[in-house]
Subunit: 380 residues, 2 copies
């Protein structure tokens, strides 16, 4: 009878209203050293729990299902892991290559594509089951994989400079070569309107753009002579292009090997300004609904974040959030930015209006921070 | 014992994994005649249930909490209703004015503001409890209320043309007049980067813009002489500006009283093209991640939707989805558009790539369609 009373009491608790969780303001922080994720709540500025068993996350990223329930985590060990953030469990995992560097989900949420280094190429999986749907080999390492509307993906090959557009909307994939971007493209990114695919070059100066609204996109090179009057430094960390900012009709681009941000007019692809900054930029990310971009830097100058005004191209703030700042993620409407400090084992939360720290969350060697709002953004 | 067995069986069912619902791909459809909402699932293209008791929804809109769990519904009867889409229940309701026309939620999700006609003004409520936080009277009907980053709102007065910016981040609200927009502003909208507040005028030709990135925004009028060579028709339905499209560095604006879309360069505010269309535009909405805008029309030409290319400014498709098309809502990454046909009692789902109908959902006299992804967008 005591047991029955307990059960009845359990059933009588208002389970549904209290324990239901909506997913719109959640996020995952990658703990790079321990192969785990911290589930966070943006509104409460709190960690909700830890999810473990994701393999080697020393260089990892993830993307979300359209319902903001499942995360697809791309690990350096070639592992593709599907995580349910409601039950906080790994629900599927496949080690699909020897070394992978990122992935994307199709606009309808049905397919997950992974870009691989070893062996090179793109593998496409059913988002529900993680069954292999298509295997597109390549003559080298795949970089800059992005989702393109119409159940398509675009990607680039480091070794050959080739760029491809893959259409997975029919019974068989249709892979179209878009031409050559240049020597050793190191990353690529899609503008938020899915108009321009930008490929950054490491083997030569320049950035190559492709107009994906054009039925037959062609490579167009720009920024081919930046920094010709100065001397380049060794590159301590390859910049990430997913953070390339698009604001005020401009691209804010990292000058590879230099302490500079390059501002390029989107329409003309001409350089309009150069901003000297604290170090070699890694991520340059636009603060949503504002004129500002925030920049972090390569080692050994990675304890600093700077804020630059896209109208004047001047640094308006220099912050020292912590040791080894690896990533920044904005609340989707821009009120806060979350900054990971790997060597302080913390995520720092800054108010973007006062630029003051308002909270912090403990995490083991945090790197990437990913809010679920990314589910609704093309190219992320 | 039989009861105990039933309870045990109930507890043994895998309640959590099966019945948990994430909110990222949900939406609400307003049933204008019955004062009810249909909860829909975008991924399943399905209605999940109906929520009733929302009063007069004959001209209603809504906005979402940052976690995509709660909807704040603004009814014509002055009712502000908070709906929990997880439990599918009305959790709070206040009739806060005699006649209201819309509202917005602050960027941090803490405050909900309502714009009122009778009496005119803005009332601000605690988003959690719906307790009144601030009451800002006005010398007329309030229109064009939008959220601005930094816990601020902007709004405009129909009768006087005055525009205000209200800052609710401190202990007391700070209300700043921004100047006069012109004669009888009928609606206003904020660009997605929160840069420009655009006010459409009915009492005179023109649109007035305010640069909200400027510490002291000033009115700047443009489009003051459109259609000067033709004759205007009676306005059958006031266009909605929330649908004003921003694409390819242009605004796509409705020519009030005319069968035209006006294309204005964002930077120069000069007219670059005019597109003759089927009727008087009501909503002009950009298809995300594409060069296209979709347009619906005022009665009696409201059985038609046209698609216009923002590069060529030409109509590329004319569709006849159903009788009395009142609204269109895109999947956030643009793969589908949902169209409400009031007099067919249906919501029609179109694939944006093929522009063919892929599904439909029954609804009683549907008007506005609102997907939860709006929670993450400034100005919506």
């Amino acid at each position: 009878m005591k047991r029955l009373a307990l059960l009845a009491a359990f059933l009588a608790t208002p389970l549904w209203a209290e324990d239901l969780v909506a997913t719109g303001d959640l996020g995952l922080v990658i703990e790079r050293a321990t192969g785990s994720l911290v589930l966070v709540d943006r509104s409460d500025r709190a960690a909700l729990g830890r999810i473990e068993g994701l393999g080697d996350l020393s260089h990892a990223s993830l993307t979300y299902s359209p319902d903001e329930r499942f995360a697809y985590v791309f690990g350096r060990d070639g592992g593709l892991t599907k995580v349910d953030i409601l039950t906080r469990q790994v629900v599927a995992r496949t080690v699909q290559a020897g070394n992978s560097i990122g992935g994307a989900i199709s606009d309808d949420g049905k397919l997950v594509a992974v870009s691989n280094y070893e062996p090179g190429g793109v593998k496409v999986f059913d988002a529900q089951t993680l069954e292999l749907v298509a295997d597109i080999p390549a003559a080298g390492k795949t970089i800059g994989l992005v989702d393109v509307p119409g159940r398509r993906f675009a990607w680039t090959i480091w070794d050959t400079g080739e760029v491809f557009l893959g259409d997975f909307s029919g019974a068989e994939p249709v892979i179209t070569p878009l031409g050559n971007a240049g020597k050793n493209p190191f990353d690529a990114v899609l503008t938020d309107d899915a108009h321009t695919y930008l490929v950054g070059l490491f083997g030569e100066k320049g950035v190559t753009s492709f107009d994906l609204w054009d039925p037959a996109p062609k490579p167009q090179k720009f920024l081919t002579d930046y920094g010709k009057d100065g001397e380049d430094m060794p590159v301590y960390k390859m910049p990430h292009l997913q953070g390339w900012a698009f604001t005020e009709g401009q691209y804010a681009l990292p000058a590879v090997g230099r302490h500079e941000i390059l501002w390029v007019d989107r329409a003309s692809e001409k350089t309009v300004a150069t901003t000297p900054v604290h170090g070699q930029p890694v991520f340059i990310i636009a603060q949503p609904a504002s004129p500002y971009v925030w920049v972090n830097f390569a080692t050994p100058l990675n304890d600093t974040v700077q804020v630059v005004d896209s109208r004047t191209h001047e640094v308006v703030a220099t912050l020292s959030p912590g040791k080894a700042v690896l990533h920044m993620e904005f609340a989707p409407r821009g009120a806060e930015v979350w900054i990971s400090s790997r060597d302080d084992n913390k995520v720092l939360i800054y108010d973007t209006r006062t630029r003051e720290k308002v909270a912090e969350i403990a995490a083991e060697a945090p790197s990437g921070i990913f809010f679920t709002a990314r589910a609704h953004q093309t190219g992320l």
